[in-house]
Amino acid sequence: MTVLSLFAGPPSSAGPESFRDHVKRLGPRPRGNGALIDTLDRSGLVGRGGASFSVGVKWRSVESRSRGAAVVIANGAEGEPLSRKDRTLMSLRPHLVIDGALLASDAVGANRTLLYVGEAHGAAAAAMARALAERPPADRARTTLLGAPPSYVAGEETAAVNFVNSGVAVPQATPPRPFERGVDGRPTLVQNVESLAHAALIARYGDAWFQSLGRHHAAGTILLTVSGAVAKPGVIEVASGCSVDEVLALAGGVSGKARAVLLGGYFGGWISADQAGSMVLDPRGLRAAGGSLGCGVVSVLDETADPLDVSARILQHLANESAAQCGPCFFGLRSLSAATTRIAARHADHGDLPQLHRWTAMVKGRGACRHPDGAVAFLESALKVFEPEFATAAGARGRRAS
C-alpha cells in the first residue's frame, strides 16, 4: 500500500538528507528543458497545492512567455492548518525540492528562483537553508530563500507574487495571472514544493515510471496529512489511486467510530464516513469528477464530536483569514460564520439556515482570489453531510444564559 518515491531513501529519523547523500542516491540533477515539460505532460503530474492543475501545462504557459527572464517560486508556505506534508517534505528531502525548483527554472527559462517557505515552519525553513548552503555556488547564486508569513492566504499564488513585489502577502485581482505578469512584471511560475519534488524524480526516471507508481489510472504517489480520530496521525506517502479506507488503515485505523472525513483541508469538504471509505484518492480523477484532493488533508471526525461546532470553528478561521480586501469575502464570510456559529451554539436566529444557503450562492466567485469560494465550498459540504444536525440545531431556540 505504501509506495515510497519522495520518501524513498533514509528513514525520517535520519533527518534532512544531505546534498552528498542526495546526489549519491539519485545522481546529479538532469537537464531542465522543453523535453522535460513534455515528459511532465505525459506523466499526468498535477499540482499538489490544492488546485490539481496539470504541471506540464502550467510550466509551458510560463515557458512560452519567458524570453529567459521568468521567475520561479517554490511554494512552501503551507498555510492550511491541517496540512503538514509540505513542511515534512522540506524537512526530510530539501534537495528534491531545490532540484525541482531549479529544473523548473531551467525548463521555463527563469533567471530567478525563490524558495518561499512558511516562516512558522522552523524545522523546514532550517533544513531548506542548510540545504541551499550545501549547494554548488552556481545553484546558490540563482536561488533565494524567503519566509512566507503565517497566514492562510499567503500561499495563494498572487499573494506569493505580491509578497515578493511589495512585501505584503495578500492576493491580487486577476487577470493578469502570475504566468502572464508576476514578480517584477515577469512571467512567474508558482508551484507547490511537493509538485516540484515529484518533477525532480520524473526528470530522472521518466513519465512511465511515475505512471507505474499509481494504481488503476492514477499517476504517481501523493503525500497526505492524516489527522483527527486515527491511532497514528501524521504525514504518509501513498500510491495515487488508493482508497480512503486504505489510508486510514495505514494511519493505525479509526479510533472510535467515524462520522465524517474532511478531505482536502479547509478548502476541501466533508464526506460522510459511509461514503468516504471507498473513495479513490486520485488528484486528477477527483478534479475531473468535480471534487478535489486539495492539498492532501484527510481528517477524521468521530461520532462523539459535534460536527456543527467543528464546522463553525473552521468557517470562523477562514472568515478571520480573509485578507479583508474584497467586500463579498470579508463581509460575506463574517456573516456566514456568525450564522453558522449561532446554529452550532443552538441559539439560531429565525432564518439563519435559509440565509446560509442564500449567502453561499451570493458570495461564490466574488473575490479577487478563491478564498471565499473555498470557504463556501467547505460550508456547502457541511450543510449537505450534516443536514439533519443543521436542521435540528437551527430549530433549537434554547438560548444560552448570557
Binding site: 498535477v46 499540482g47 499538489r48 497545492g49 490544492g50 488546485a51 490539481s52 492543475f53 501545462v57 502550467k58 504557459s61 511554494n75 508556505a77 492550511e80 500561499g155 495563494e156 499564488e157 498572487t158 506569493a160 495578500v170 492576493p171 491580487q172 485581482a173 486577476t174 495571472r177 504566468f179 508558482v190 508551484q191 507547490n192 509538485s195 478548502f267 492539498c295 480586501q325 474584497c326 467586500g327 463579498p328 469575502c329 463581509f331 460575506g332 456573516s335 449567502w359 451570493m362 458570495v363 466574488r366 473575490g367 479577487a368 482570489c369 478563491r370 473555498g374
Partner: protein, 81 residues
C-alpha cells in the same frame, strides 16, 4: 470575436453603490452593498450605461474589457498548485 465585458477589481471596490444605480440592467447589490455583476458581454445598446457606471466609480475598480469569445485555457487561480 472580441466582446466587451465589465471587469471589477474586487480588492479596490469599497461598495460606493454608484455603479448599481447607474447600470441597474446588469449590476445589483449584495446584502453588504457590493456589486453583483451579471455575466456576459455588454450589448451596444447598454454601453452608455456601462460606461457611466465605470466612469462613476470613485476608486476606479470597475472597467470595460475587451475579451475574446473563447479564451485559451490557462492555469487556474487557486491556492498554490
Amino acid at each position: 470575436m472580441a466582446q466587451t465585458e465589465l471587469w471589477i477589481d474586487r480588492t479596490k471596490c469599497d461598495g460606493s453603490r454608484l455603479c448599481a444605480e447607474l447600470f441597474p440592467e446588469r449590476i445589483t447589490l449584495d446584502d453588504w452593498g457590493y456589486p453583483i455583476i451579471a455575466p456576459g458581454p455588454i450589448p451596444g445598446s447598454l454601453m452608455p450605461h456601462a460606461q457611466k457606471a465605470v466612469d462613476s466609480c470613485p476608486v476606479l475598480a470597475l472597467a470595460l474589457r475587451r475579451v475574446e469569445r473563447r479564451p485559451p485555457p490557462s492555469p487556474p487561480g487557486a491556492k498554490a498548485s
